[in-house]
């Protein structure tokens, strides 16, 4: 099966490369998914004072550390984009791997955090706060994982100088995943 791109893919009537345009639309569709769950959470939270007492059991310091890790990984995603723009294939790939490492750190910390909380008896069925806590952070974590898989795939290509434009696109997605966490962190950890 021929894998030649159709001419349609190479056009840019809207003045933007097709891949970047599509990533923006992916992000638009994701915004409403997270928007739905966050709006549901906020409505519940406003209606139930008991949430604050439950939220007091979350560990703000671990959350803050993960916020720091994820924000730093966005920096390396930008460095990868810059390297790709300068035609530095090795550099772009290395920075992408660094970003993947940031995502992995985030998930490992999260795994320890959740294990600890579940051992303490705070499971997904403990109360609606914990249901939202695990569901919202879980959907977010699955996006982190998806980003890491995509980025590894793109890093392997980029190291050989192939499909360098994708370095920027996956970076856009990674920033979005980051921004979602910036909403989740205060809502789940800080507001007590």
């Amino acid at each position: 099966m021929s894998s030649a791109r159709p001419i349609a893919t190479t056009r840019s009537s809207a003045g933007m490369p097709t891949g970047r345009l599509a990533v923006w639309w992916v992000i638009a569709s994701e915004i409403v998914i997270f928007g739905g769950i966050l709006a549901s959470y906020i409505m519940h939270r406003l209606a139930h004072d008991a949430f604050a007492a439950q939220a007091a059991h979350t560990n703000t310091w671990i959350g803050a550390f993960n916020t720091f890790v994820l924000l730093t990984s966005s920096l390396s995603a930008v460095m990868a984009h810059r390297a790709a723009d300068h035609g530095d294939a090795k550099g772009a790939a290395n920075y992408l791997w660094l970003t993947v490492g940031g995502g992995a750190t985030f998930l490992i910390v999260k795994a320890f955090e959740w294990t600890h909380e579940i051992r303490e008896g705070f499971t997904i069925t403990s109360s609606t706060f914990w249901s939202f806590y695990y569901t919202a952070a879980g959907i977010h974590a699955s996006h982190v994982l998806a980003g890491m898989v995509l980025m590894s795939y793109i890093a392997l290509d980029a190291a050989k100088g192939r499909e360098m434009q994708r370095v920027e696109y996956v970076g856009l997605y990674w920033h979005f995943v980051d921004i979602v966490w910036i909403f989740l962190f205060p809502l789940l950890y800080i507001a007590k």
Partner: protein
């Protein structure tokens, strides 16, 4: 790669040695993917149509052994109505109107050789097929398919103790969620293609209305479905992990589901409506040989409708105990949204006025769309007013109302589009006489079903009653007679459907070969071969004008194709 030439070797079959399976099942060609969506959608329409036959027989003749099914139990009845609705909306209207026509028309009408992401396009269909298989599989699990209505309201949908379908209710949600993912992928592809791959010279105002409508519909879908995806995850967790998002006994809120569902559910009406409106716009201008009366008005009102459609959802919840002040706001917004739709209807009628009209099969379907949809829209005003809705809510009046909107959309829109583009899709002309016979049978049958149901609804007939004999006040001779008339009309309508299948098959086999442009239409797809080869054109077209230049003064021909230089 960036050249504007498709190699001449890319004739009808790109790879002659390609197996049937590869060519038709694994193709990345947008036209083949259109056929995949269309045939899957139509196969499921037959399933959902069969369901409606079974439960309508039970309605008119309670307790009878329905031929082809047997005795209908209450649980089976619930499963049949639930899946009839869900299939018709998610697995017929969506795949045929948006996915199939979108796939076929967008690249051909904007002068591109394919979608921008052909492999994502193929993946989108494969996920859609998987969702259909999951749904069908749910019918055969312990307890049977889900029976809690397509709206999936908790707590009924959340607890197997209530719905008695431990597997069916979860599989139903999984199937719906997979279907959403398929259409998100497809929609991103549609929007990106229409934005970025237009032929040189095609500005935003040169895009045919049907392409605009499918793109706006994809955007509406994308913007509305997110909260429901989040909600579906929460509901699946309620079902399987026993969380309490929607369980009021444990701090959850069942009304939250209704908000998440209808925040999607109402825009969804416009998601399927807009492509059908687009299809009729193309047919009406072509068949009346007149310029579309007001292109920019149609475009702007479609966008306006899309924006407003996010502000009306709670009119489905007037009796759910929402704040009456909120009900006032939603009543006002619901009445306002009828204005842009009415405006579009007026534009269509104005386009017809003074045109030289050809009354062939596609045109009959397009005109009947206006007629039936107007009835659907006008009856919606009664339901949008919260005072009237408190009486009419969940009666057959509601049911007749939304069938008068969804039937023109899903059934009339599809038949209109297929009969109009059949020559392009197949390279053969369709038999017009058989087409007209099928049209009149379907159109009269449809009105025969639902006009009586408006009346039963106004007389207080409740929607979800399995056997009216249990309710003496609803078992009167008048109501029984009307129900029987509706069912007989359904049988009448169904009897005409084999004619259509016969017409399609015989036309494919022995039909007159279709020329490139049988309707003398302006849009770009009519400049490609019938059927277009892989890659669509040997050299991709260039656009010089808008799509509706019919009967231009001082021209010998009454049409002026978009790709002809002035």
């Amino acid at each position: 790669m960036a050249t504007q030439h498709v190699e001449p070797a890319h004739e009808h079959h790109a790879h002659p040695q390609e197996s049937w399976f590869r060519h038709y099942m694994l193709s990345t060609d947008h036209k083949i993917i259109c056929f995949q969506y269309m045939f899957t959608g139509m196969a499921l329409a037959v399933v959902a149509g069969f369901f409606s036959y079974v439960f309508r027989m039970q309605m008119a003749f309670p307790g009878m052994h329905v031929p082809g099914w047997g005795l209908v139990t209450p649980n089976e009845y619930n499963m049949l109505i639930t899946n009839h609705g869900a299939i018709m909306i998610f697995w017929v209207a969506m795949p045929v109107l948006i996915a199939a026509f979108g796939n076929y028309l967008i690249p051909l009408m904007i002068g591109a050789d394919d979608m921008v992401f052909p492999k994502v396009n193929r993946l989108s269909y494969q996920i859609f097929l998987l969702s259909a298989i999951v749904l069908i599989a749910s019918f055969f699990t312990q307890g049977g398919g889900f029976g809690g209505a397509w709206t999936i309201y908790p707590p009924l949908s959340a607890k197997p103790e209530y719905n008695l379908t431990p597997w069916g209710s979860s599989l139903f949600l999984v199937a719906v969620a997979l279907e959403f993912i398929a259409f998100l992928l497809g929609g991103i592809n549609f929007i990106t293609t229409a934005m970025n791959s237009r032929a040189p010279g095609m500005s935003y105002h040169h895009i045919p209305i049907v392409v605009w409508m499918i793109v706006i519909a994809s955007m509406l879908f994308m913007a509305s479905v997110g909260p429901l995806i989040a909600g579906a995850i929460m509901l699946v967790f309620d079902q399987t992990l026993h969380t309490a998002f929607f369980d009021p006994n444990r701090g959850g809120d069942p009304i939250l589901w209704q908000h998440l569902f209808w925040f999607f559910g109402h825009p969804e009406v416009y998601v399927v409506l807009l492509p059908a409106l687009g299809i009729t716009a193309e047919i009406i201008t072509t068949m009346s040989r007149k310029k579309l009366f007001a292109y920019k008005t149609v475009l702007n009102t479609a966008i306006g409708t899309g924006v407003l459609s996010f502000t009306v959802w709670a009119h489905h919840q007037f009796v759910a105990g929402i704040d009456p002040r909120m009900a006032n706001i939603f009543t006002v917004m619901t009445l306002i949204i009828s204005i842009p739709i009415a405006e579009m209807m007026f534009v269509y009628i104005a386009t017809l006025y003074g045109g030289s009209i050809t009354l062939n099969t596609p045109m009959l379907w397009a005109l009947s769309f206006i007629f039936t949809f107007l009835i659907g829209g006008v009856t919606g005003i009664f339901l949008g007013a919260s005072g009237a809705d408190i009486y009419l809510h969940d009666t057959y009046f509601v049911l007749a109302h939304f069938h008068y909107t969804f039937f023109p959309i899903a059934i009339i829109g599809t038949f209109a589009g297929v009969s109009f583009w059949f020559p392009k899709m197949s390279g053969k002309m369709m038999n017009d006489t058989l087409g007209k016979i099928h049209f009149w049978g379907t159109f009269l049958g449809f009105n025969g079903i639902f006009i009586p149901l408006f009346i039963t609804g106004m007389l207080g007939d409740h929607r979800r009653i399995f056997d009216h004999n249990f309710f003496p006040e609803l078992a009167t001779p008048t109501l029984k007679g009307l129900r029987e008339f509706a069912t007989l009309s359904l049988l009448f309508m169904l009897a005409f459907q084999p004619i259509w299948f016969y017409n399609v098959i015989t036309s494919l086999l022995w039909g007159k070969p279709a020329p490139k442009n049988p309707w003398n239409s302006n849009t770009l797809e009519w400049t490609a071969d019938s059927p277009p080869p892989h890659g669509n054109w040997p050299t991709l077209p260039i656009v010089y004008r808008g799509p509706y230049e019919y009967s231009t003064p001082n021209r010998s021909e009454d049409y002026w194709p978009q790709n002809v230089p002035s």
